[in-house]
Amino acid sequence: MDDLKLITALDDAPSPEAITGFRTGMMPFWHPVLEASALECGGPTGVRLLGRNLVLARLDGEIVVFPDVCRHFQARLSLGTLVQVNGEQALQCPYHGWAFGTGGRCVRIPQLAPGRKIPMTANLTSYRAVERYGIIWVCLADEATFPIPDFPEMGDTSFRKVRLRETKPMRTSSTRMIMGTLDDTHFPWVHEGILGDRNKPEPPNHKVWRQDNELVVQYEVEQPPGLMTTDMSRPDAQRAGPVRILYTDHVGMPNVIRLVKDTDAGRYVIWLATSPVDYNTTINFWIFARNYDLNPASDAAYEAMSAHVRLQDKPIIESQRPWLIPPFWTRVELPMGPGDLPLMEYQKWIEELGIATAI
């Protein structure tokens, strides 16, 4: 069987088709690339997105994103400096001092012979960038398929927010990262005692639907008492039994996920925006929001707990092969109904969006 040959031939590296499919499929979306605070002094800063090196800077307040190569002799612009040219800020290449302003326009060539004009071809490609939720987002296409997904709790002052920045990128694809966060049948296995119980591995009854640009998953489940389910600042908290939770997961296709956990204590939100550095490298931006136990002194405990859960997932998600989610026709994976329904629905959509195309 052809299928079988395909599968046994599979090793760690995805095929060039799969990588291209992923990079081009992911292009027309907004991707988080950098904490906005990193550009406070203007930059420049280099980031990598979908296999490309980009340079980010803030010129007179406006965020600019260019390929991180100078138009002249290909030096790295992220090694450059911000300068003033004709009263406006520009990014100056470290090699021969060419300078580029907003829109990628080349505004100065120090070597320009008198009387000559800067050629149009000296301009850089410029990508679109916006700041939202304290993060800079970049879209590599002319038009984004979907707007940046909503995160209503972020602007809601009744919620306390904790940010978690993983120190190292994850060695996985951002689609696998989203699936790993959406997946709930692993809770009793990987997060036993925190998010589940191995004696109760039965999957919940999922409701799954598409709504605008989101995949929405809703289910009810019982979890052990803890920071994410119980108001631990209450004196009787230690005696609490299992907690009934309503999960509403919003996947902002294809790269952002917001898990909303509603309990008697209130609401706990896990928000993850994944930056697809490349097919096998992902930077995660996490924000956790809660509207109970609001004492700032508690933040550290929430941060530590989140980091702990993340660490439980990390080796397992990084172990998944192929790096990229394979399309269904390859038969590489065997999703099982009904428990895996949310994952299958996510996967259907990324196939439709042209992100999962080959192995």
Binding site: D150, P152, E153, G155, D156, K207, W209, R210, Q211, D212, V216, Q218, E220, R244, L246, T248, V260, D262, T263, G266, R267, N291, F328, W329, R331, E333, L334, P335, M336, G337, P338, D340, L341, M344, Q347, K348, E351
Partner: protein
């Protein structure tokens, strides 16, 4: 809270203490954390110029999972947690002819739009389809009307010529109109289909409930060649379920038409493919199918190699 029609209750939500309400625009909805622990989206009905309250209308859904019922059991003074308003159904501000089109409880965002249009002095049509006369919500507002509001209400128990008919409505809509529509999926699908022949219409809609998954279709028959068994597959069931009913347990995993486990050879009959596994080429060949989701064309007999 006030009952405004059979099974529909309107809620006036005011902020606790002196917190200010976030402003909203017509067409916006809020997440409501219902007493039953569900999160539901309800459109804001009131005029967007109001800052002191949100008004939502909730229809009691007997088939629902308790969210609406728990809302209906609320008393005056109850405290509800709500999210901030979000609008995915904005009213465009220009001079294009405007039509508001509602089915049942879908009237809610359109009432908010009607307030705005009336205030701006922009003439518009409002078409509102309901099951019966006692289901008409916001009747006072609609009766009172205002200059420029042309309002038509259609009831399913009206004489046939007065009932809502997507086709004739689509044919009557003004050239180049913008139509804002909200209602049950079946209603919106019918209107969308009818408007397909009117590319000049800009149709905008808000979906509330999850659109029903493309569920089972009409009845057909399967016949198992190796067992000499023939059974009808009813409209509400899949081949897989039908076979299970006969005590046959085919090999399956995903039950979603994605994994290929239940791939079955088809010896005869017209297949209605609904899977994500086979290629378009395989679909055309018509000799294999995934029996967990795919079906036979209405009236066909599928002969399976089972």
């Amino acid at each position: 809270m006030t009952a405004i029609a059979e099974g529909i209750v309107a809620f006036e939500l005011v902020p606790e203490g002196d917190t200010a309400l976030l402003p909203f625009t017509a067409g916006a909805h809020i997440d409501v954390y219902t007493p039953s622990g569900h999160v539901r989206q309800y459109s804001l009905v009131n005029d967007e110029s109001e800052r002191h309250r949100y008004i939502v209308a909730v229809q009691w859904d007997a088939a629902g999972r308790g969210g609406s019922a728990s809302m209906h059991n609320l008393g005056v003074g109850a405290v509800l947690h709500v999210g901030q308003p979000r609008n995915t159904f904005e009213l465009v501000r220009d001079d294009v002819p405007t039509v508001l089109l509602a089915g049942g409880i879908g009237i809610t965002p359109l009432i908010a739009m009607a307030h705005v249009l009336l205030r701006r002095g922009r003439p518009f049509e409002l078409h509102y389809a309901v099951r019966a006369d006692n289901r008409v919500a916001f009747r006072d507002f609609l009766d009172r009307g205002g200059d420029g509001m042309a309002c038509a209400i259609y009831r399913d128990d009206d004489p046939p010529e007065w009932r809502f008919d997507a086709g004739s409505l689509a044919a009557r809509i003004k050239d180049g109109a913008r139509v804002y529509m909200c209602g049950p999926s079946g209603f919106m699908d019918a209107v969308s289909r009818a408007c397909a022949s009117r590319p000049d219409i800009d149709l905008r809609l808000e979906r509330f409930a999850a659109p029903e998954p493309a569920g089972p279709g009409p009845e057909f028959t399967v016949s198992l060649a190796r067992r000499g068994l023939s059974v009808p597959v009813p409209a509400g069931a899949t081949i897989l379920e039908t076979l299970r009913g006969e005590g046959i347990e085919p090999d399956v995993s995903c039950e979603q038409g994605v994994c290929g486990t239940c791939l079955t050879t088809v010896l005869e009959g017209q297949i209605d493919h609904r899977d994500y596994f086979l290629s378009a080429h395989d679909h055309k060949a018509g000799d294999r199918m995934l029996i967990c989701v795919s079906r036979g064309k209405p009236g066909t007999t599928l002969v399976l190699d089972l």
